[in-house]
């Protein structure tokens, strides 16, 4: 049975404006976070993800309802108590001109050290452990400002871990990172949850990666309502499509990806095997073709073949056969056809 770290009951979040008016972002939220689970908060821009994270992190007050942290009501807890339970990684840039990595990570020990911030051996051990868990151990001794974006993110996670929190909240941790960096980050978060037993909540735009690592997903739409479930459950329930549907954008449950809708789908038959076939199909779909396994003989036929270690493509069309050495030229030829559809005319 997983331990609940944080629960909300009938939570309303938003902003208090001057006077009595409030701007409501979402209401009636019943959420929970468990130890050992990675939860991803996904939603379109402007839905209120950051507001939700800030409210759960006690940076903002809820408009209604309450948040319970490890059994206590968040609004009644002292900052220090909260600090020993929740730690954050945010998107704000920090102004640490001449700080070394270990000093920065060391700041995570604030809730535990005395007035003069003297570090005991236990503190130093916690710092080292945090850096190890966050894959930042090799960065010791470097100045923070000299690190790359990816390295900096790891250090910020290490800092958060140095607080020895039960719950780690991250706002867009993969923003500004390159693809390998994003993968590393999400995998690390998963490891923190599964192997170190932390409750991890992160918001992200990286749908792809989120679907691959998250144990649970909070899907937030613009009206402020949240659908919850494991990623695959949400997909099968059609929730992703509903949330992200916009003109010209469609979530394809089969592939787990977004497709751009194009018009005037022409059909083409594709034969082949393995990854050559897979990538040829992707290219044809990208250009806007409907790819079929079998079809009528008047449709163009593409054969992806391996000859002497090299791949080539044969395009049979209107009685003629042309061999292409690259997908690019194949697609080019087909697109030309698309632009000037003549029936039966040889190229």
């Amino acid at each position: 049975m997983k331990t609940k770290v944080l629960t909300t009951s009938n939570l309303s979040i938003g902003y208090r404006l001057s006077g009595q008016k409030n701007r409501l972002v979402a209401s009636g939220l019943e959420l929970s976070l468990n130890e050992g689970e990675l939860v991803c908060l996904i939603g379109p821009n402007g839905a209120g993800k950051t507001t939700l994270l800030r409210t759960l992190a006690a940076l903002q007050k809820p408009l209604d309802g309450q948040v319970e942290l490890a059994g206590k009501i968040l609004g009644q807890m002292q900052e220090k108590e909260i600090a020993k339970t929740i730690s954050l990684v945010l998107t704000e840039p920090i102004a640490v001109g001449q700080m070394r990595v270990e000093e920065l990570v060391g700041m995570g020990r604030f809730p535990f050290t005395n007035f003069f911030d003297n570090h005991k051996p236990s503190d130093e051990r916690a710092v080292m452990d945090a850096m190890r868990s966050a894959d930042a151990k090799n960065l010791v001794g470097r100045y923070f400002t000299q690190l790359s974006d990816g390295e900096r993110q790891h250090v910020m996670v290490a800092r958060a871990l140095a607080q020895e929190p039960k719950l780690l909240i991250l706002d867009e941790p993969t923003a500004f990172l390159d693809l390998p960096g994003r993968v590393k980050m999400m995998l690390m978060l998963q490891k923190l949850a599964h192997q170190e037993g932390k409750a991890v909540l992160c918001s992200t735009h990286d749908l792809d990666l989120a679907l691959q690592v998250a144990d649970w997903v909070w899907l937030m739409d613009r009206s402020g309502s949240i659908s919850q479930g494991s990623p695959e459950d949400l997909v099968l329930r059609g929730e992703f499509g509903k949330t992200f549907n916009r003109q010209g954008v469609e979530f394809d449950a089969a592939s787990g990806k977004f497709k751009t809708e194009t018009e005037n789908h022409q059909k083409v038959i594709l034969h082949g095997i393995g990854i050559e076939k897979f990538w040829t199909m992707r290219a044809l779909i990208r250009v806007g073709f409907d790819v079929l396994e079998e079809g009528e003989s008047n449709l163009p036929l593409v054969e992806a073949m391996m000859e002497n270690g090299k791949t080539s493509w044969r395009l049979k069309r209107n009685g003629g056969v042309i061999s292409h050495a690259s997908i690019y030229s194949l697609v080019y030829a087909l697109s030309e056809d698309k632009l000037n559809p003549t029936s039966g005319k040889a190229a």
Partner: protein, 364 residues
């Protein structure tokens, strides 16, 4: 020079910081320099008094020149002590403001405390009327504190306003702008007062604006020193919180800091220091902005645990040096402090900053 080392003693379990050793070395050097400069400041003045006499006078030994006793103990010693207090105080206040606003250009007067003090002084000096009829009564009732009292009142007024506003304003940038606006408003008022004043009064006010360590009496020091020390004490205890503030208010809060209380303490500390220094010595520029940067560059750190004591001593040294430079030895001429701090300070800071590899620039 000492280069940032990429090798660090990393044992299997702990990280040992290299910093404390570098810090202690620097502090020892700075302490030594401080003592030297303190004696230097006591040696310089319109009269030539050899260092041997100074040491004897300070140790209480009688010499054959009783007049020199009076000069060293009543004129130069008060001046040097004032310089130390103001130098340290303004440097710390500057550091606090730079961290609070996360702005490397912030100075101790950014909240307009200085302007409040100037307004108080301007009212006291300039609004006494052409015939100066009130003046005669003034010099007896305000007593020793005189102008300083007016300045403290003015500074306290602005401080109160700032506190009031900071309660309802979330962003520190807004506070910064408010400080600038207070500054502008009071400057305008002062200009108005000047416009309607007679030349002698304007002269008196102008002289106040030049800044001076030498005008503080022992009686005044009895008030000034404890107040400055209180301000320094409050500020020194904020090291941990200031470090957290470097990360931003959100992170600081998430580390368990009570932002409201910390803001109040920072504002209180900086205002006490800047307001009192200005009240007794006039507005003294440049020290508050420059010393924190010099400290950061020398110690290669942003950690306030090390910066606070470093800034304390560096500020004192800088102020003493500036005081030495105001006195062209042998002559009666004394240059205003503000001229010296700007003239010598600006190129020095430029040198400090450009000395580093290009690109590291200035930061908090």
């Amino acid at each position: 020079m000492i280069k940032p080392s990429n090798q660090v003693n990393v044992s299997a379990e702990t990280v040992r910081e290299v910093k404390p050793r570098l810090f202690l070395v620097w502090m020892a050097i700075l302490l030594f320099v401080f003592v030297l400069v303190f004696i230097l400041d006591l040696s310089y003045g319109s009269l030539k008094i050899p260092a041997s006499y100074i040491i004897r006078i300070l140790s209480g030994v009688q010499t054959d020149k009783p007049i020199w006793h009076e000069i060293v103990l009543n004129i130069r010693l008060t001046k040097a002590i004032t310089a130390v207090l103001v130098g340290s105080g303004l440097a710390i206040a500057g550091l606090l403001m730079q961290t609070f606003f996360r702005n490397p250009l912030a100075d101790p007067f950014i909240l307009g405390i200085n302007s409040g003090a100037s307004l108080g002084v301007a009212l006291a000096i300039l609004s006494l009327g052409a015939a100066g009829s009130l003046f005669l009564t003034q010099i007896n009732t305000l007593g020793d504190l005189g102008v300083a009292a007016a300045a403290i009142l003015g500074a306290a007024l602005v401080f109160g306003l700032v506190l009031l506003v900071s309660r309802s304003v979330k962003s520190s940038n807004t506070l910064l702008i408010l400080g600038l606006m207070f500054g502008s408003a009071t400057s305008a008022l002062v200009s108005l007062l000047i416009y309607f004043s007679i030349p002698e009064r304007i002269q008196a006010y102008m002289i106040w604006t030049y800044g001076s360590f030498g005008g503080v009496t022992w009686n005044q020091l009895k008030v000034m020193a404890p107040v400055m020390l209180v301000g320094i004490a409050i500020s020194s205890l904020l090291g941990k919180s200031l470090n957290a503030l470097l990360l931003g208010e959100d992170y600081a809060r998430s580390l368990g800091l009570n932002i409201g209380r910390i803001r109040f303490l920072i504002l209180l500390g900086a205002s006490i220091l800047a307001g009192t220094a200005t009240a007794f010595c006039g507005p003294i520029g440049f020290l508050g902005v420059a010393i924190p940067h010099i400290a950061r560059n020398l110690l290669r750190t942003s950690n306030h645990k090390f910066l606070l004591p470093a800034v304390l001593i560096l500020g004192a040294i800088a102020a003493l040096l500036a005081d030495v430079l105001t006195q062209l030895p042998g002559t009666a001429f004394i240059l205003p402090i503000n001229v010296i701090t700007s003239l010598f300070g600006a190129p020095f800071v430029l040198w400090i900053i450009l000395r580093r590899k290009a690109g590291s620039g200035v930061s908090v």
